[in-house]
């Protein structure tokens, strides 16, 4: 009886792991798309409304869905407290975001790269940099979509199978 229960626990745990991995694969393209939207909005705010970065970030955070909204909100809030450079703030928040969300190192690097240019140039230059970042995100988006299609189902079934395998080994 206890053996059966333990087996079920092991299988359940590995199923959960597989699902978690698959969910990451599903969510990554979605988050990259959100970031792309956010950058587009930011571009519009900077180029056409000619607002400060803080106000632009606030505007962005009002227009995009959740986890990213809080990210931009936090960055905008931190600018208020701290009058130094923008990049350390940006870097800190992106790091925090990276740790708790399913984006990969590549995406983080692109965002950090972009953060380094933010607020350093005039409007035209800034627009170019935003375009560049969007292009890079496009590339990783394609890759993430590809991965999702290829490994999405596999992750789930491999999770189940590895659970059964471990149970068989310990039987």
């Amino acid at each position: 009886m206890i053996k059966l229960l333990a087996s079920l626990f092991i299988i359940g745990a590995s199923v959960l792991l597989g699902n978690e991995y698959a969910n990451n694969l599903v969510n990554r393209p979605r988050y990259i798309r959100f970031f792309k939207n956010a950058l587009q909005i930011l571009e519009a705010e900077i180029v056409y409304s000619q607002e400060t970065i803080k106000e632009s970030l606030h505007a962005v955070s009002n227009q995009i869905p959740e986890p990213l909204a809080t990210l931009f909100q936090h960055i905008a809030d931190d600018i208020q407290h701290d009058q130094d450079e923008l990049y350390p703030i940006w870097e800190k928040h992106i790091h925090v975001f990276y740790r708790s969300n399913p984006i990969q190192v590549d995406d983080k690097e692109i965002l950090l790269q972009f953060g380094r240019t933010l607020g350093q140039h005039d409007v035209i230059q800034q627009q170019k940099y935003i375009r560049l970042a969007i292009n890079h995100l496009e590339r990783t988006l394609k890759e993430a979509d590809d991965k999702h299609h290829r490994y999405g189902k596999m992750a789930r079934s491999v999770g189940v199978l590895i659970g059964i395998f471990i149970v068989l080994l310990l039987l």
Binding site: R150, M154, S157, V158, L161, I164, F165, L168, L169, L171
Partner: protein
Amino acid sequence: MTLDTSVLFQIAGIGIIVAMIHTILKQMGKEEYAQFVSLIGFIIVLLFVLDSISDLFQQIRSVFFLQG
């Protein structure tokens, strides 16, 4: 002294599971991992079988006075 027959089913089950993981990994184009998985499965099953082989030889030695 009766042996545990469940080991037979265990071996077959590991074989089937390993075969399934192998097939899935191969379909997804991860040939090297697929090879690795089947090697691991083989080694694990081999450990089971080796255990019973050593049992058998030990028994034969004690039955036929073949010590030393």
